[in-house]
Amino acid sequence: MKKALKILAKIAAIGGAVYAALFAVFYFDLDGKAIFKFVEPTLVKHYDNMPRRDPLTRPYGEEPTNE
């Protein structure tokens, strides 16, 4: 019984800590800051440097490809 209670208390403590951490992320807009300062610039760099097909050089009437 005691062991079960201890495990429950541990789960509650971990759950509480995770909840508090998530609240901190929410309250201080850490998700927004991370996306704005790191994720978006990284992705933009990737998209800017991506090789792309140029549909303008395809002769009129020729089927587009997926390569």
Partner: protein
């Protein structure tokens, strides 16, 4: 690190009223003391910290909006195709990776300062739109031949211009799915993250195409030029949307896509009964095209089922309008009202709209029964007319927080003001034609003077005392009637603020400039003082 000034801190503590502090903590600061503008970091619009709305509303926002929606987004992605397909799409397409990751900031901007039942009802609208966005882009990716999607799904997906109403595909919904070409890669991105669309506008202009047509058409065209459109469909249906600029877009799309295309125009002078018959024939032509290209059959029972369900959505919309028009208990922000309505009526019948309406109905009924004044510091009831700036759809939230301008209703919400008959095939077809003719940017914006001037009767109906007149600088149709509106506003003694913008392009008229124009009008013409002076001027030029 800067040392804290203990003397200043002591002084501040001495002046602090602990009772007020406790009250503000429990219930949030009252409107007028919030200083929401102080929460922003300069330029980016990021929050130093998110708003404290009192214990109940802050934790509602955290649990039922922020956590819930992040969780539901993952659940939706899993449900509609899985994380691997999503990751492939994010890696391949700029518009999804750059635009949709900061989606919770879209919620934040639209729900700033909102409390109680209005917070709850408006957030449900956002949740529905997010669900539909995910469903659509996941379907695109699952069938996308560019990233190795399923050929079977590709053969069961038809594409169409975003202003072709999803209802055209109701007879075939049990055999295929329809996905608009531009709604997710273009339209919704502008609201969530307005940086992305600029790439597509610039791509079009870089070819030497003129920069003065509607930037919406330019952006849609740019998606093709930059090869950023998934290949998820064997055929597509296009329309002239609202103007000639968009016809040109269709020509370029046709060239670049090079797949079977059916053009289904939306007539401008739709009051003519002959036009009505012609439009009905065009829709029948679309039915035949779908059947020939997709190998599907016309199922009347499927059509009736979806139309009846859509009529149910329309009837609830009318109930909402009734509460909005005649009471102060309407719990939906101007932004949520406008975006949800246009999204729902354009996309057609989907389960999520019914789930959302059920939830919103409960909140709406509670507000009416308990006479909850949802926007208590309303000074003016505003109707917004013409086409809105996509990069600043949340101006309504700002205008209420700063000036007490409560945007009750807008033009785009009022377009599809009808149910559809299912008693006979002919009646259904005529109603389909009417619905198609009343498309976005069509019925009131370029549908003839009588319809453009439906503003006056709606102003009366919704008991509005002010007009926010959108002025899309690159829309030749609406620019042509500018003077007529000016004359009418003067003759009718109506307070109207012209809000210039360039639809998706924030570089032409910035959000800061839009706010300045409203501020000037409120100070000089209305002789009023702001409710929250911290919102008068701030730089959000780099914000999403």
């Amino acid at each position: 690190m800067k040392k804290p000034d203990w003397n200043k801190l002591k002084e501040k503590l001495k002046k602090t009223d602990p009772k007020k502090l406790a009250r503000d903590f429990l219930y949030g600061k009252p409107h007028g003391e919030r200083r929401l503008g102080d929460l922003y970091e300069p330029k980016t619009g990021l929050y130093k910290h998110r708003e404290w709305r009192g214990v109940k509303d802050t934790f509602y926002y955290f649990n039922n909006i922020w956590l819930y929606n992040y969780g539901m987004m993952v659940a939706d992605i899993m449900k509609y195709g899985g994380l691997v397909t999503f990751a492939k799409g994010v890696w391949r397409y700029r518009w999804v990776g750059q635009s949709y990751l900061p989606v919770m900031h879209w919620f934040d901007r639209g729900l700033e300062g909102v409390r109680g039942e209005a917070l709850r009802a408006s957030a449900w609208h956002y949740r529905a739109m997010v669900n539909q966005t995910i469903e659509q882009f996941m379907r695109m990716f699952c069938a996308d031949q560019n990233i190795g999607g399923s050929k079977a799904l590709y053969d069961q997906t038809i594409a169409h211009d975003e202003t072709v109403w999803g209802g055209v595909f109701y007879p075939y919904r049990d055999q295929l799915d329809d996905i608009p070409l531009q709604m997710i890669p273009y339209f919704v991105t502008c609201h969530v993250n307005n940086h992305t669309v600029l790439n597509y506008i610039d791509a079009t202009q870089s070819l030497g195409l003129p920069g003065d047509p509607c930037p919406m058409c330019q952006a849609e065209c740019g998606l093709m030029i930059l090869d950023d459109e998934p290949d998820f469909y064997p055929a597509f249906i296009t329309t002239n949307e609202a103007c000639d600029g968009s016809v040109a877009t269709s020509v370029i799309q046709d060239w670049m896509i090079n797949k079977p295309l059916y053009a289904m125009p939306q007539p401008m002078q739709f009051d003519d009964p002959l036009v009505q018959e012609h439009c009905a024939k065009e829709i029948e032509g679309a039915f035949r095209f779908i059947e020939e290209q997709m190998g599907v059959e016309f199922h009347w029972s499927e059509l009736v089922k979806h139309v009846e369900e859509q009529n149910e959505l329309q009837r609830f919309e009318w109930e909402k309008w009734d509460v909005a028009a005649n009471t102060s208990y309407y719990p939906i922000t101007g932004t949520a009202q406008a975006l949800y309505r246009i999204y729902q009526s354009q996309r057609g019948n989907r389960k999520i709209w019914h789930d959302t309406d059920k939830r919103v109905r409960k909140i709406l009924e509670k507000c009416v029964e308990q006479k909850i004044d949802t926007f208590p510091l309303t000074r003016h009831r505003v109707i917004a007319w013409s086409c809105a700036p996509l990069y600043y759809s949340h101006w309504c939230t700002w205008a209420y927080n700063c000036w007490g301008l409560n945007c009750i209703i807008n033009m785009d919400s009022l377009m599809f003001d009808m149910t559809i008959r299912t008693d006979t095939y002919d009646n259904m077809l005529l109603d389909f034609a009417r619905y198609h003719e009343w498309a976005p940017m069509r019925r009131m914006a370029v549908g003839g003077l009588k319809h453009i001037f439906e503003l006056w009767e709606n102003m009366e109906k919704f008991h509005c005392d002010m007009v926010m007149m959108y002025d899309q600088l690159q829309c030749k149709g609406m620019q042509g009637v500018h003077g007529l509106f000016e004359d009418e506003f003067r003759a009718r003694d109506i307070h109207a603020i012209w809000m210039p913008h360039a639809l998706p392009d924030k570089r032409t008229v910035s959000r800061e400039e839009i706010r300045r124009i409203i501020n000037d009008y409120m100070f000089t013409v209305m002789q009023e003082e702001p409710l929250d002076p911290s919102l008068l001027e701030f730089d959000d030029s780099k914000s999403w």
